[in-house]
């Protein structure tokens, strides 16, 4: 399969970016999207290494920087807006799990970084997501120390609650929800953690403090408000439901009422 790639290039956070177009040929449909980018980068590097080719006017761009790590959909490192969709034109996956068989031969593919005020571009397709860590640092935990905890089975948890908590906990922290939201809201991300812990007896003890501090941090960092468009839920690679946002709102309201 052959493709034309329109890729966002931006040298650093301070400089302006623009689209550059590259071509890749003879790509197997079983190749993953990131492997296709590896092939594109290999071409760019080889062109840059070949002075004859450069003199003839061939492309000599630097390879495109993009975040990736586990390449099996769990680390949350890969991002990318592909043809206008976070993680590309397939459901319930991260970009690293996207395969070229999902595209048409000869297609032009547009590849952009996450675009959201809370996640500025560092270089090319790589964005800064430290804000997500900061929100979790504000309260996304149960305050227990190592040692001195009771036997695991002294804390029974109804199976359905554990399963729902697990649904929320499967968030990989990729930022697709924020990038997709027209308001740049981090509500799905934050609520996934709040809800996961609020569903468990272990997490209930400091639930009020947790939700208030995490929401305050989210607001402080400039993330937008939720207007229930559900775009986040649709693009979430782990299909995390916006019902967690509803639970967070309930938790938040209850916590505020107690103040």
């Amino acid at each position: 399969m052959d493709f034309k790639l329109k890729v966002w290039r931006q040298k650093s956070a301070k400089e302006k970016g623009s689209f550059h177009t590259y071509e890749v040929k003879d790509i197997s449909p079983d190749t993953s999207f990131l492997e296709m980018l590896d092939i594109m980068n290999d071409q760019l590097i080889r062109a840059g290494a070949d002075p004859v080719a450069v003199n003839k006017g061939c492309q000599s761009d630097q390879p495109v920087a993009f975040d990736h790590d586990c390449r099996e959909g769990i680390c949350g490192m890969c991002s990318l807006y592909i043809n206008g969709r976070a993680h590309g034109p397939d459901d319930d996956i991260t970009t690293c799990q996207l395969h070229m068989r999902k595209f048409k031969d000869g297609e032009t593919i547009t590849i952009e970084p996450w675009r959201s005020a809370g996640m500025p571009v560092i270089k090319d397709l790589i964005v800064e997501r430290n804000a997500l860590d900061k929100i979790l640092q504000a309260g996304g935990y149960v305050s227990v120390n190592t040692g001195g905890v009771p036997d695991a089975n002294t804390i029974p948890v109804p199976r359905d609650d554990a399963e729902e908590s697990m649904d929320a906990a499967s968030c990989v922290g990729c930022g697709a929800c924020i990038a997709t939201c027209k308001n740049g809201s981090a509500m799905l991300f934050v609520s996934a953690r709040v809800s996961s812990l609020a569903l468990l007896p272990q997490g209930k003890i400091e639930a009020a403090r947790r939700v208030k501090e995490m929401v305050a941090k989210m607001d402080e960092l400039g993330f937008g408000a939720c207007t229930n468009t559900r775009a986040c839920e649709i693009e979430c690679p782990k299909s995390i439901s916006i019902s967690h946002i509803a639970r967070m709102n309930r938790e938040f309201l209850l916590a505020k009422l107690k103040d």
């Binding site: 190592t146 922290g173 812990l197």
Partner: protein, 648 residues
């Protein structure tokens, strides 16, 4: 034996060693802990749990990771579960049985004292994780559920769907976040450790590259903890994450830390097969699938031909024409034999011409019987995310057709040598989790990596590092303007300049892929003397070629993923040679290390306990000089050594 190799295993009965040791080692008072600095490199299960636990105790911790967040560390990708000797299912499990299974699974090449301690602390890990809010799978009564893993006849594995590593790491990351919030831990992201700094022979700091700006930075402490995982990416194709690398352990080795059992690499039997030359990594399908999946190939060659030509589907092959070779060869453990045994058995069938895909390198993992027995819904609950992942990658629905799998490099049992305190041969340098060599011998059992990472980080290192730091309460803060830091930083800068200056023709990946081929062909699932010698010569040649012909584009003072890779591959080109040397030295087969010359008539591993009952410990002698081999002899006081038997 080198005098540095004092394993410090306490005297006394197995079950009392750790308790006795804890009561004898020194502790640091809270007031003094506040004065002491610890660097933790890596934020997987080992690093995150250690940094959190040390912060809780009151030490000043600096933690470093190469990703944009500690949560990305590759522990996150562990799927199946974590072992513990809770005996909740009432199936006669115990600390001793977990210890024994681990020693036996490791083919009698690990230390009894360490492994017993690991089994002992396995239970509080589960307690802690539950208290942290890890959503483990539960029964309808609200209590924790268990499943089975390879190499064991009890169900002792706790799990959170197929995402146990993720959930445990999020637990440790949350504990770490809490300490960051409290100001006890400082987190440095997108930093890669490039050297260890020694002052007067002790580990006093690290040199890192800021991956965003390209700046070289220095950090000092009273002790350094290496928790950077394994070096499986030396094979290029592996189940490791793309950024996982061996550079930090390799720099420690070059600064004098002994490297143990480098050749012990685990090949995981159930990975999605290689599809072509453009492939960048291999995806694991959890071992937990072997609870309910049956592994087979056709009995008849003509069926194999038809499958390869896609004339028939696997589901059309009748029951009597299927060879469930694990059940046939190992009736007692069946599909749940340890990983090394299952991997070799798959290779044996494929080498005999029964591989079921176009490349001839795949076997089936079939859920038909479990779906018939339990219903699709139960299978979906247990493995839904794995089935989805498989379908997304291969475009085949595993509910209808069996999965195709083949072994792939997954984990490295070898690593930095450590004593019972998890201290390397360099005072003040500790190593935990996959980065050390300690607990898994020649083969790691499934669901034991998570156990070891968290055991080291939460429950062992926080005690043992105190014994070292108690001697440092009068020591001043490490001064990073010390000449040792200048020297290390200058060396790194020179190395980076040299890489840019080569201006060759080939990208870094070209060399990495070539190295991977050499490693897989000669230092992979089956090894022999001739092949290993070829590998050593081939790697040397490739290394020379790399330093003449690699091309690193871009600038050093910017985010530059090519120079990151180049530094890592330069180290792999040295580490790979050491792996081959170690495999050549060990003229026996044990665990995942299979020397073709040493096998039984049935093709099983043949150990040589008289000559190889040791941990190999390699000491660096300088660039382009052969390292020296020291041996730590293993004394089995409690377990009767036997040939591993998974048949009856």
């Amino acid at each position: 034996m080198s005098e540095k190799l004092n394993s410090k295993i306490p005297e006394g009965p197995l079950s009392e060693k750790w308790t006795r040791h804890k009561s004898q080692i020194r502790v640091v008072s809270p007031a003094n802990k506040r004065k002491l600095d610890v660097i933790v490199v890596g934020t997987g299960l080992g690093g995150a749990s250690a940094a959190a636990a040390l912060g809780e105790l009151g030490y000043n911790v600096k933690v470093f990771c190469i990703s944009d967040s500690p949560r990305r560390a590759h522990s996150i990708a562990a799927q199946g579960g974590i072992n513990a000797a809770k005996n909740y299912p009432n199936d006669n499990d115990s600390v001793y049985r977990l210890f024994y299974d681990t020693i036996k699974g490791g083919d009698y090449r690990s230390r009894e004292g360490n492994v017993y301690r690991l089994a002992e602390v396995s239970n509080p890990i589960i307690d802690l994780c539950v208290a942290q809010g890890v959503p483990f799978a539960r029964e309808y009564g609200g209590l924790l559920d268990n499943r089975s893993f390879g190499g064991s006849q009890v169900s002792r594995t706790f799990y959170a769907r197929g995402q146990t590593g993720q959930q445990l790491l999020l637990g440790a990351y949350a504990a770490l976040n809490r300490q960051i919030h409290l100001g006890k831990v400082e987190s440095f992201t997108r930093r890669e450790m490039l050297d260890l700094v020694l002052i007067d022979g002790e580990a006093k700091g690290i040199i890192v590259r800021n991956l965003i700006t390209g700046e070289i930075e220095r950090y000092g402490a009273h002790a350094v903890v290496i928790a950077t995982g394994g070096y499986g990416n030396v094979f290029f194709l592996s189940t490791n994450a793309m950024n996982s690398n061996g550079s930090s352990v390799w720099q420690c080795f070059k600064k004098g830390a002994f490297f143990s059992n480098p050749s012990f690499a685990q090949i995981h039997p159930t990975c999605i097969p290689v599809h072509g030359e453009q492939q960048s990594k291999l995806t694991l399908m959890s071992e937990s699938l072997r609870n309910d999946g049956r592994i087979w190939v056709p009995k008849k060659k003509e069926d194999v031909e038809k499958l390869r030509e896609k004339k028939i589907k696997a589901s059309q092959i009748p029951e009597e024409d299927r060879d469930y070779y694990l059940e046939r060869r190992y009736p007692a453990f069946g599909n749940l034999v340890p990983r090394d045994v299952a991997s070799r058995a798959a290779k044996e069938r494929c080498d005999a011409g029964f591989g079921v895909n176009e490349t001839g390198l795949a076997v089936y993992l079939d859920f038909k019987y479990s779906i018939e027995r339990l219903g699709k819904k139960v299978i979906e609950e247990r493995y839904g995310n794995l089935f989805q992942m498989y379908e997304k990658i291969t475009d085949v629905n595993p509910y209808n057709e069996p999965m195709m799998i083949y072994p792939a490099i997954h984990y490295t049992m070898g690593g930095l040598w450590v004593d019972y305190n998890l201290q390397t041969t360099i005072p003040g340098l500790f190593s935990i989790g996959e980065a050390n060599f300690s607990d898994h011998g020649g083969n790691r059992l499934g669901a034991s990596a998570l156990m070891q990472g968290l055991a080291d980080g939460y429950y062992i290192l926080p005690y043992t590092i105190g014994d070292f730091l108690a001697g440092k309460i009068q020591a001043k803060k490490t001064d990073t303007s010390h000449p040792a830091f200048d020297e290390a930083e200058n060396a790194i800068k020179a190395k980076i300049d040299k890489l840019f200056a080569i201006k060759g023709k080939e990208p870094v990946d070209h060399f990495h892929k070539k190295l991977g081929h050499i490693m897989w062909d000669y230092v992979g699932m089956a090894r022999n003397e001739e092949g290993l010698k070829k590998a050593i010569a081939g790697i040397k040649k490739l290394r020379e070629d790399f330093w003449k012909n690699v091309y690193v584009p871009g600038e050093k003072s910017e985010l530059n993923q090519e120079v990151e890779k180049a530094i890592r591959v330069a180290d792999f080109l040295e580490l790979g040679e050491l792996m081959a040397m170690d495999a050549l030295d060990r003229r026996e087969s044990c665990g995942g290390h299979f020397r073709e010359e040493m096998q039984t008539e049935e093709g099983e591993t043949l150990r040589d306990d008289n000559n190889f009952m040791y941990v190999s410990c390699w000491e660096h002698q300088g660039i382009e000089k052969d390292p020296v081999l020291h041996k730590e002899h293993l004394n089995y006081e409690f377990v009767k050594i036997a040939t591993r038997n998974y048949k009856d």
